[in-house]
C-alpha cells in the first residue's frame, strides 16, 4: 500500500456506503471495472450494509402503501439493462429521457437482454473492453429512447431478420439481427452504410452466427440518403463489399 491510503483498494468500504464523492468516485469505479476481487469485496460489504439498514426498519404509514402501489401502476418499467457487466448495481444517476418509445422498447428488450448475457461473459473475460461496452450501451439507450426513434425489420436473404432502430436526432442507429445463417469459419457478417456520401464500413458484427441474436451494434455518423446493408466478408473485414447485400434497409 502506498502511503497516505492512496491505494484505491482502501476505498471499498467507503464506496459501499456511498461515502465517496466525485471525482474520487469515478476514479474508483474505473478501478472496479478492472478488478474482479474488488467488485466481489464491494458486493460482500453491501450485504453487510443491508443488515445495517434492516436494523432501522420501522412501520411505514398506511397511506404510503396506497400511494406507492398506485404510482407503480402508472409507471412504465425499464427494460433489462444492456450493461449486465456493470461493476455494481448503480441506480441510474442521469436524468432519464422522457417518453420511452413503448413498442420499440418492448420489441428490443428481449433482444438486448439476450445479447447482454453474451456481452457480459465476453466483457468479464476482457476487462479492457468494459468501458467500451458501457459506452456502447449508453449509445444504444440514447438511440432507443430518442423521441424520433423508428424501427424497421427486414428479412435477410440467406435467413433470419435484421432490425434497425434509427434516430435522425442522434444521427445513429442500433442494429440487431436474429436467426442469421451460421457462417463457416473465417467469415463474418459486415455492416455497411451505403449512400450518396459513399459506401463506408460500419463494422464487423460480433459473434456472427453464434447464438440466436447478434448485436446490438451502434452505427453513428449517418448521412442523408444512407441505407444500411449487410454482407458476408472475411473475418478481417473488407475495404469494400465483395458481394451484394443480403439485406438493405433504407433509412428515412
Amino acid at each position: 500500500m502506498r502511503p497516505g491510503g492512496s491505494d484505491p483498494h482502501t476505498l471499498a468500504g467507503a464506496y459501499a456506503m456511498d461515502a465517496v464523492p466525485e471525482p474520487d468516485r469515478s476514479r474508483f469505479e474505473r478501478h472496479l471495472a478492472r478488478c474482479e476481487s474488488c467488485r466481489q469485496e464491494v458486493r460482500g460489504l453491501r450485504e453487510a450494509t443491508a443488515a445495517l439498514a434492516a436494523a432501522t426498519a420501522i412501520q411505514p404509514p398506511a397511506a404510503l402503501r396506497d400511494t406507492v402501489l398506485r404510482a407503480a401502476g402508472q409507471t412504465r418499467q425499464l427494460p433489462p439493462a444492456v450493461a449486465a457487466a456493470s461493476a455494481a448495481w448503480a441506480p441510474p444517476r442521469h436524468r432519464r429521457r422522457p417518453g420511452w418509445r413503448p413498442r420499440l422498447a418492448v420489441a428490443l428488450a428481449g433482444a438486448l437482454a439476450a445479447v447482454a448475457v453474451a456481452a457480459g461473459v465476453v466483457t468479464f473475460g476482457m476487462q479492457g473492453r468494459l468501458d467500451q461496452a458501457q459506452h456502447r450501451d449508453h449509445m444504444v439507450a440514447a438511440v432507443l429512447s430518442a423521441s424520433d426513434a423508428t424501427m424497421m425489420n427486414r428479412p435477410v436473404s440467406t435467413g433470419g431478420t435484421a432490425t434497425v432502430v434509427m434516430s435522425h436526432r442522434e444521427r445513429a442507429l442500433v442494429f440487431t439481427a436474429a436467426d442469421l445463417r451460421v457462417l463457416p469459419a473465417g467469415e463474418s457478417y459486415e455492416l455497411w452504410l451505403i449512400g450518396p456520401a459513399g459506401t463506408r464500413s460500419a463494422g464487423m458484427i460480433d459473434g456472427s452466427g453464434h447464438g440466436r441474436m447478434v448485436g446490438p451494434m451502434v452505427v453513428s455518423g449517418l448521412a442523408a440518403g444512407d441505407s444500411v446493408g449487410m454482407t458476408v466478408e472475411p473475418d478481417s473485414g473488407s475495404p469494400r463489399p465483395t458481394s451484394p447485400p443480403l439485406v438493405l434497409i433504407g433509412l428515412r
Binding site: G13, D18, T49, A54, A57, V68, T75, Q77, A81, W89
Partner: protein, 208 residues
C-alpha cells in the same frame, strides 16, 4: 433531536418484526424477495405489493436516519420504491441479494437528497463546527436499532471503526466529512470504514 423520531402508527412497538430479507440476504426470506423481484420485472403488481410489504419499513427507516426530516423521508422512500418497480429488471441475483439491491438504491437516493446543493452548504457548516454529529446520528439510530445481532456486531468493532461506519452509513456523510468530524486523517478513515465493514460482514455472516 426531534428529527427522525416520528412515532409510527401503532405506538412505540411499531417496528417491523418481520422485515423479511433483512438479514444481509441470507435465509428463505431473501430468496423469496429475489423471486418476487423477477415477477415484478415482468410487471406483476401483486408481487410488487409483496415486495413493498417486505421492504418499505426498512427503506423508510434507513432514509429517515439519513434525511431526518419525516416528510422528505417519505418522499424519498416513495422514489426508492418506485425505482424498485421501474428497474426490477436490472436486479441481478448473481451480483448480490435482493435485500442489498433495494437497500443500495435506498441509501443512494437518501444520500443524493442530503447532498443536494442547499443541504451541502448546511452540512459543511456542521462538519466545520463538528463534534455533535456522531452523537446525534448514533442517538437517532440507536433508538431504532433493534436488531440484536446487528447491535452486537456493531459493538464488536473498534470505536473508530464503529464511528466511521455509523457516520457514513446512517449519517450519509462522505469519508472526507467523516474524517473532519472525527478529527482523524483521511487515509485512516478509509481503512477504518473498510475494516469495520469487513468485520461486520464476517460477524453477521458467521454467527446467525
Amino acid at each position: 433531536m426531534t428529527e427522525g423520531q416520528r412515532k409510527p402508527p401503532g405506538g412505540s412497538s411499531g417496528r417491523r418484526a418481520d422485515a423479511a430479507g433483512g438479514h444481509a440476504g441470507s435465509g428463505p426470506g431473501a430468496d423469496q424477495l429475489s423471486a418476487l423481484l423477477s415477477r415484478v420485472a415482468r410487471g406483476d403488481q401483486d408481487a410488487y405489493a409483496a415486495v413493498y410489504d417486505r421492504t418499505a419499513g426498512q427503506v423508510l427507516g434507513l432514509v429517515l436516519s439519513i434525511v431526518r426530516d419525516p416528510a422528505q423521508s417519505e418522499e424519498v422512500t416513495q422514489e426508492v420504491l418506485l425505482d424498485v418497480w421501474r428497474s426490477a429488471s436490472r436486479f441481478d441475483a448473481g451480483l448480490g441479494s435482493a435485500a442489498a439491491w433495494v437497500m443500495t438504491l435506498a441509501h443512494r437516493r437518501a444520500v443524493d437528497r442530503v447532498r443536494s446543493e442547499q443541504k451541502a452548504a448546511e452540512r459543511e457548516m456542521r462538519v466545520a463546527s463538528s463534534a455533535v454529529a456522531y452523537d446525534e446520528v448514533a442517538e437517532a439510530v440507536e433508538a431504532r436499532l433493534d436488531r440484536e445481532r446487528v447491535r452486537r456486531c456493531l459493538g464488536s468493532l473498534t470505536e473508530l471503526q464503529r464511528e466511521s461506519v455509523t457516520l457514513a452509513y446512517y449519517g450519509g456523510y462522505t469519508y472526507r466529512e467523516v474524517a473532519g468530524l472525527l478529527g482523524v486523517a483521511i487515509g485512516t478513515v478509509k481503512t477504518r470504514m473498510r475494516d469495520g465493514l469487513i468485520r461486520l460482514r464476517d460477524c453477521l455472516g458467521g454467527d446467525p
